[in-house]
């Protein structure tokens, strides 16, 4: 019996359980009403229905889930006892390759055998597979009937079906919210584990403070010493994300927020605010393409025209400029919130003393909102250094330690993509280095976020 058919059957059983239990509960209810004791029934009929349906479906479904993971092993076990399996080679790898092929043919995933040795095993596989499939289905059905019958006999007029169903609902809600913790733990565990393996091959001090990054040479067998110095990557990331992008984003974002909140007429605001939101909604791959196709060549020509040597068509400036534009809406909305949180009385007081609007903004509003703005900028930096596609497409791969914005630099995220795409052997230092870089990125963005949120929160409290 196939998987979908069993699931359909199970769903049908659940529906029957629901209907019959509900009908029974309705009978209790009418009986109780007839005898004038309306409070004798605890739960609504629907809850009785759900209670029995869950008992019918849940144990059987759980069993099927377990069975689906266990039965392939059992099937293989029983195939190995077949006389045809005696011809199998003793070597583990060749053996499992033949078995895998036979299974693929038996399941219909593969039309014919590449290895003739797997041919005679197809029939035993089919037989064992259908035998265990039938056994699993039968057991699941027995479980479904047993669970349903057990629950059906339990329901009575004063049975607290609602409490039990609701307890399950609460458990599911709690389970769902635990997934966030599981994800966080998964990220930390996988990054730590792979980084640990990396640091058993490469000295962490060399990694964090080394000045030379050339994983290719390590992959080609020149040894891991001084091939994984990540300082040029850190510098490139800071240069593009924290310096160039912020030089663009902070003034433009801050001034946009000031203009839109303090000066602009409602009409202008109604049009310009969504425009900034669109800027935030453009996918980063589009920004990256734009940076690589239009901005980078223009900047290279500009550099050549004003006579700067070492200009590259994959310059730090192109990636940084475009990333800065991407960050503008982010800075602007953070600044907007901070300025709005400054008490109106401070603004009114300044204006009443005869200050102009711009003097009020510069001398009162912005100093008062500064902690919030700084927090917003920190969040923007954390977003900029974690940004991937723009730098992958526009920033290049050469790990240079340079101050020249027209030269090519590389970043942490670029190198992660570079190390993990293409040919992979999962145990080489080259691949594992990506996880070490990921760990550094994760820790830095986490710290930036924690500091930024703390700054913003402290400052909010000051005015409350």
């Amino acid at each position: 019996m196939t998987g979908p058919a069993i699931l359909l059957l199970l769903a049908g059983l659940g529906a029957i359980a629901w209907v019959s239990a509900r009908a029974r509960a309705i009978r209790f209810q009418t009986a109780a009403r007839a005898s004038g004791r309306r409070d004798a029934v605890h739960s609504l009929p629907g809850f009785h229905g759900w209670y029995v349906a869950l008992w019918a479906v849940a144990p059987a479904a759980l069993f099927l889930g377990v069975w689906a993971n266990v039965s392939p092993g059992l099937v293989t076990q029983s195939v190995l006892t077949d006389p045809a399996a005696r011809a199998l080679p003793a070597d583990g790898f060749a053996r499992s390759a033949i078995l895998g092929e036979a299974r693929a043919i038996a399941n219909g995933d593969q039309a014919a055998a590449f290895n003739p040795a797997s041919e005679p095993l197809v029939q035993p596989y089919r037989e064992a597979g259908s035998r265990y499939g039938m056994a699993g289905a039968a057991l699941a059905l027995v479980l479904a009937f047993a669970g349903g019958a057990y629950a059906f006999t339990r329901i009575r007029a004063d049975f607290r079906a609602r409490t039990r169903v609701e307890r399950l609902v609460m458990a599911l809600l709690l389970l769902a919210s635990l997934l966030a913790i599981v994800t966080t733990l998964g990220i930390v565990a996988s990054l730590l584990w792979e980084s640990f393996r990396f640091f058993s091959m490469v000295n962490p001090v060399d990694f964090l403070f080394g000045l030379k990054w050339s994983p290719q040479s390590a992959a080609m067998g020149y040894g891991n010493d001084d091939a994984f110095g990540a300082v040029p990557l850190f510098w490139g990331t800071i240069f593009i994300g924290a310096i160039i992008a912020m030089i663009v984003a902070i003034p433009l974002g801050l001034m946009s927020a000031v203009y839109l909140t303090q000066y602009a007429s409602p009409t202008v605001r109604r049009w310009m605010k969504p425009m900034l939101e669109v800027l935030a909604g453009v996918p980063t791959v589009v920004y990256g393409y734009f940076a690589a196709l239009t901005v980078a060549p223009a900047l290279r020509d500009l550099a050549a025209a004003i006579g700067i040597s070492g200009a590259s068509s994959e310059s730090a400036l192109a990636a940084g400029l475009v990333m800065g534009v991407m960050i503008i809406p982010f800075v602007s909305s953070m600044a907007d919130d901070s300025i709005a949180a400054v008490p109106q009385s401070m603004r009114d007081g300044s204006l009443a003393m005869g200050a102009t609007t711009s003097e009020t903004i510069r001398r009162v509003l912005i100093p008062a909102a500064l902690p919030g703005v700084v927090g917003g900028v920190l969040l923007a930096v954390s977003r900029a250094i974690g940004e991937t596609m723009i730098v992958v497409m526009a920033a290049g791969l050469a790990a240079n330690l340079t101050l020249n914005p027209f030269a090519s630099v590389t970043t942490v995220t670029t190198q992660i993509v570079q190390l993990l795409t293409g040919d992979q052997e999962f145990d080489s230092a080259k691949t594992l280095a990506a996880f070490a870089l990921g760990l550094v990125l994760f820790i830095v963005t986490l710290l930036l976020n924690i500091v930024a949120l703390r700054v913003v929160k402290k400052y909010r409290e000051a005015y409350e």
Partner: protein, 420 residues
């Protein structure tokens, strides 16, 4: 007030004096400069957006068109062994159409005719026969897609030789520009005239489906639990902190998680929409949780009190009263989260969705690619013909994102209730 005698020197400010007037003028000038700077900042952002969109449109709209060469085909004289009464797919496949198309092109366009038309031009003849088998009894004029070089030259970006060929074809009056239906119906390929976004689009659709099915129920359940039931304990604090942190983790980290847990630990299929959807669901879930909590918070306590007062259980209060009222807000947040997931590229590169995939995926476990990754792959291609295809794919992606955001804004405006 002090009783000391007022100092004789402290006179009222003479606002009319020249010095004061100059000072006021200076302050007003600075005010105007500041305001102009603010306006300039907004305009610069707008100009950048406009520049970006215009560039993409300028490049991309050409990607939706293709150059066609009209060729007259004399079917009765051709070596085709086809019976007009019995045209089947099999017969068409065996009829030798590719060779015949090359011969036809050489006859109509000169000795280099076969190079002028696209390598897959015979498909146009096949489709013409399929549409109307009686065409086999007469001579018909069929528009064949031009080769990439000719296509580029006709759009003004070709090599000198191709430009010359285009000039010749134009004088013969056989060149025309038509809508490129292939772009919407085919998948990735090596020849820019033949590539399309259907495969990537279908991959995106499947991935988004997995993402939605996972992140929406889990996100809503988490939001309900945290906002309505969670006791104030250290346990709840940990959940809240993890969700807020997950919302700020760079997307590429989720890709690393997907690679090491889903692929290397659980051995799920590489490049599949299933794994892509699961990875993006982990990213989207915090967004839905945060939006959902805000929407649930906005439902006034009086609703809960009223429902509890007439005897509803806490679960009934939430599922029958709070959730329906909060749903528009939750949906708006979900759409915004899905739009972000639709444009996401980096985590999908990590789990291998950058493979060259020429057939659209049939299910969630088949190798697939998605629109943003397809854009990234095409942007890496050397052939010039891919520039306009990349931009055209970007236009398609932007249209979808705009539609999703528009829907979110519409839902917000239509269903948002102000409780006061």
């Amino acid at each position: 007030m002090s009783s000391a005698p007022p100092s004789a020197e402290r006179l009222p400010t003479d606002w009319k004096s020249d010095a004061m007037q100059r000072r006021i003028a200076r302050r007003y000038a600075s005010e105007r400069r500041f305001k102009a700077a603010g306006l300039l900042a907004v305009l610069l952002s707008a100009a950048f957006l406009a520049f970006l969109l215009v560039t993409m449109m300028g490049n991309g709209l050409r990607g939706f068109t293709r150059t066609e060469i009209a060729v007259s085909v004399d079917f009765p004289a051709s070596p085709l062994k086809l019976d007009p009464a019995a045209v089947t797919d099999r017969a068409l496949a065996e009829a030798g159409l590719p060779t015949m198309t090359g011969a036809v092109a050489e006859k109509a366009l000169g000795p280099d005719g076969d190079d002028l038309i696209a390598p897959t031009a015979w498909l146009a003849i096949r489709d013409a026969i399929k549409d109307d088998p009686t065409i086999l009894r007469r001579t018909a004029t069929i528009r064949l897609p031009a080769a990439t070089a000719i296509d580029l030259a006709n759009k003004g970006k070709g090599t000198p030789e191709a430009e010359a060929a285009v000039e010749r074809l134009k004088q013969a009056g056989v060149l025309s520009t038509g809508f490129n239906a292939t772009f919407l119906s085919s998948s990735d390929g090596t020849d820019p005239t033949q590539v399309g976004i259907w495969g990537a689009f279908k991959g995106s659709l499947l991935t988004m489906l997995v993402t939605l099915l996972l992140s929406f129920p889990i996100g809503v359940a988490t939001a309900l639990y945290l906002e309505e039931y969670a006791p104030k304990t250290w346990w709840t604090d940990i959940i809240e902190v993890s969700i807020n942190n997950l919302a700020a983790v760079p997307s590429i980290i989720f890709g690393l998680l997907g690679l090491s847990i889903f692929l290397n630990f659980l051995h799920l299929p590489r490049s599949a929409a299933l794994v892509g959807g699961m990875t993006l669901a982990l990213m989207t879930m915090p967004v839905i949780v945060i939006a959902g909590r805000n929407a649930i918070k906005a439902v006034p306590p009086s609703i809960r009190d009223a429902a509890l007062g007439i005897g509803a259980s806490p679960v009934q209060v939430v599922f029958q009263h709070v959730l329906p009222l909060a749903l528009p807000g939750i949906l708006t947040g979900t759409i915004i989260g899905m739009a972000r997931a639709l444009g996401e590229t980096a985590p999908l590169l990590m789990i291998g969705m950058r493979a060259f995939i020429a057939t659209p995926p049939g299910g969630v476990t088949d190798p697939a690619t998605v629109l943003p990754v397809q854009i990234f792959l095409w942007s890496d291609e050397v052939s010039k013909g891919f520039v306009e295809k990349t931009s055209a794919a970007i236009i398609v992606l932007l249209v979808f994102l705009l539609a999703m955001n528009g829907l979110a804004i519409y839902l917000r405006n239509k269903f948002e209730r102000r409780w006061s």
